[in-house]
């Protein structure tokens, strides 16, 4: 959803120092980014709400006058102040379009959150933490998409009663939105996406998921509405999300990978591990299998080969290997390798090895 924030800035005339600056959309939606005296905020609010006034003396007539601003809306009031202030202040005030144009909204509705006092402090604190983490996740660098070449301007605003958090940003978080929408879709369908589907975005997906499973801790939360680009999704069954999340480990996954190395887990006499990377060389994962010298030696010699792996997740970057299939046309197993693998109990079908 496109949003328009203006940048209100008060600067000194000679030194060009910023006394006060704020992104502002209306009298309720604003973000102060600088206030040197710590006292301008109240004036800023008064201006927006048509309450600002001062008495002044005309230098020529020495008559006293009252200056007021009441243009009807917050931005018009700020604009009026910016055009008049040179008459009574040694400052330059501007109200100009800002680079903040993207918005994400998170609205927590809880059984007792809609009171005028707002959420109970613990829940509010948790909600702020939750949104702060979302902000950090939204800025994750995805290797395939380098659009975040510089740190975007962004901020959040919140309403006290029935906590509504809005996140505004100067850039459109393409990956974040794709992943967010995918996660919401998966939660609705009760089945999470695999790394093979999300590829480079899988890490972001997992981080997002890890925060969503914490929603169950909002004991009074009835409904969480998430709006991205004007489209809203509603979440209600937070326990189910948590359980879905817990079942990630053990879920079947597959993906095309490149063999990087083989780890001999000599300290763990039960397992070896095949270390692979995604095709775009962005995320190393280890696919473990029961310790086997024949398979480890064979895989070690296949370094750099492109493979299709099928397995189960056992941790953030850990998989247990079920099958491995070599994808390059010019790759073939020697008769000796095939026989040795079969002798050790593996099934070999063409270029596919079943553990």
């Amino acid at each position: 959803m496109s949003v328009n924030f203006e940048l209100f800035e008060v600067k000194t005339v000679d030194s060009d120092e910023i006394l006060f600056s704020a992104f502002v959309r209306d009298e309720k939606t604003y973000r102060i980014t600088a206030d040197l005296t710590g006292r301008f905020k109240k004036k800023f609010l008064n201006i927006m709400n048509g309450l600002y006034k001062h008495m002044y003396v005309n230098q020529n007539t020495e008559e006293s006058h009252e200056y007021t601003i009441d243009e009807g809306d917050a931005l018009a009031n700020l604009r009026k102040y910016s055009s008049d202030c040179a008459e009574f202040s040694h400052t330059i005030v501007t109200l100009s379009p800002s680079n903040i144009s993207h918005q994400y909204t998170l609205h927590f509705y809880g059984s007792d959150y809609n009171m005028s006092k707002g959420m109970e402090p613990k829940a509010a604190h948790r909600a702020y933490d939750f949104f702060y983490e979302l902000g950090k996740i939204s800025q994750m660098r995805i290797p395939a998409n380098n659009y975040l070449s510089q740190k975007p301007s962004e901020f959040t605003t919140a309403e006290a009663a029935s906590l509504k958090l809005e996140m505004y940003s100067s850039v459109e978080m393409v990956d974040f939105k794709i992943v967010f929408k995918q996660l919401l879709e998966d939660i609705k369908n009760g089945m999470l996406s695999s790394e093979a589907v999300l590829a480079d975005r899988y890490k972001m997906y997992k981080r997002l998921l890890s925060h969503f499973k914490e929603l169950v801790k909002f004991t009074n939360l009835d409904l969480l509405t998430i709006t991205i680009d004007g489209e809203s999704e509603e979440l209600t069954n937070f326990k189910a999300i948590s359980e879905l999340s817990n079942n990630v480990y053990g879920a079947s996954i597959s993906g095309q990978m490149v063999i990087q190395s083989v780890h001999d887990y000599y300290r763990d006499d039960a397992l070896d591990g095949l270390v692979v990377d995604t095709l775009s060389f962005s995320q190393i994962t280890t696919w473990k299998y029961p310790k086997n010298n024949v398979l480890s030696k064979f895989l070690h010699n296949a370094k750099g080969e492109q493979v299709l792996l099928i397995g189960n997740t056992t941790g953030e970057n850990l998989r247990s290997l079920v099958s491995i299939e070599f994808l390059n046309d010019n790759f073939s197993l020697t008769d000796e390798d095939e026989q040795n693998l079969k002798d050790d109990g593996f099934a070999v079908i063409g270029k596919k090895i079943l553990l």
Binding site: T37, H54, S89, H90
Partner: protein
């Protein structure tokens, strides 16, 4: 005189006799005298019988007027602008005049002195512990002072911020506002088309 019960004429004059500076006050026109209000215009002359004022002092005394520093009504003195001739400005003259005002008003059971500060007064009066009627006005003045410190004194932001953090009334920062060899705050401040005016008050006793 119906206004005598508010403050007698001789006391109004005594409020302007400042022996330490050789100044004496006299009424320049008959009092506007009513039972609830007294209005006097006073000149202040030195030992050479020359007026030290650019403009005579207008003083209004009320038997029962709204108090600004506390709830209710009481005896209130409303002081007009005091403008001293440039050539007659000596160090501490404003402070001495104010001290004599305060002494006489206190002895005549006044509760509060009220004024509208403008020009130099925006710094002088709060430095003499007058309070702003409207705290937004004080914030506004501090905004002007911060601009002055950045633009005229050339202080870095951090220093301005530190000074303002330690602000505890105008007397805590006014040493920065009259620097040697640089434009004083009040002179700089009056360089706009409009001079702001702040309502202030001080409890007398």
């Amino acid at each position: 005189m119906p206004c005598r019960s508010i403050i007698p004429e001789l006391e109004v004059i005594r409020a302007h006799n400042i022996s330490s500076l050789g100044l004496s006050g006299n009424l320049t026109r008959p009092s506007d005298c009513q039972s609830h209000r007294r209005f006097d215009v006073i000149d202040l002359k030195n030992t050479n019988h020359e007026s030290v004022l650019d403009r005579e002092i207008a003083f209004e005394f009320f038997l029962n007027s709204q108090l600004l520093g506390s709830v209710g009504n009481g005896k209130v003195a409303k002081l007009g602008t005091i403008r001293i001739k440039e050539a007659q400005k000596v160090n501490g003259i404003g402070k001495e005049i104010h001290a004599q005002h305060l002494l006489v008003l206190s002895q005549n059971q006044f509760k509060e002195i009220q004024l509208k500060a403008k020009w130099d007064g925006v710094i002088v009066w709060p430095s003499l512990f007058f309070k702003f009627r409207n705290e937004d006005d004080e914030d506004e003045l501090i905004e002007h002072i911060s601009v002055y410190m950045l633009d005229v004194l050339g202080f870095p932001r951090a220093k301005v911020s530190r000074i303002l953090d330690q602000y505890d009334g105008m007397q805590s920062i006014n040493s920065h506002l009259k620097p040697n060899g640089k434009t004083w705050f009040t002179e700089w401040y009056q360089g706009t088309n409009r001079t702001l005016q702040y309502e202030m008050y001080k409890e007398v006793s």
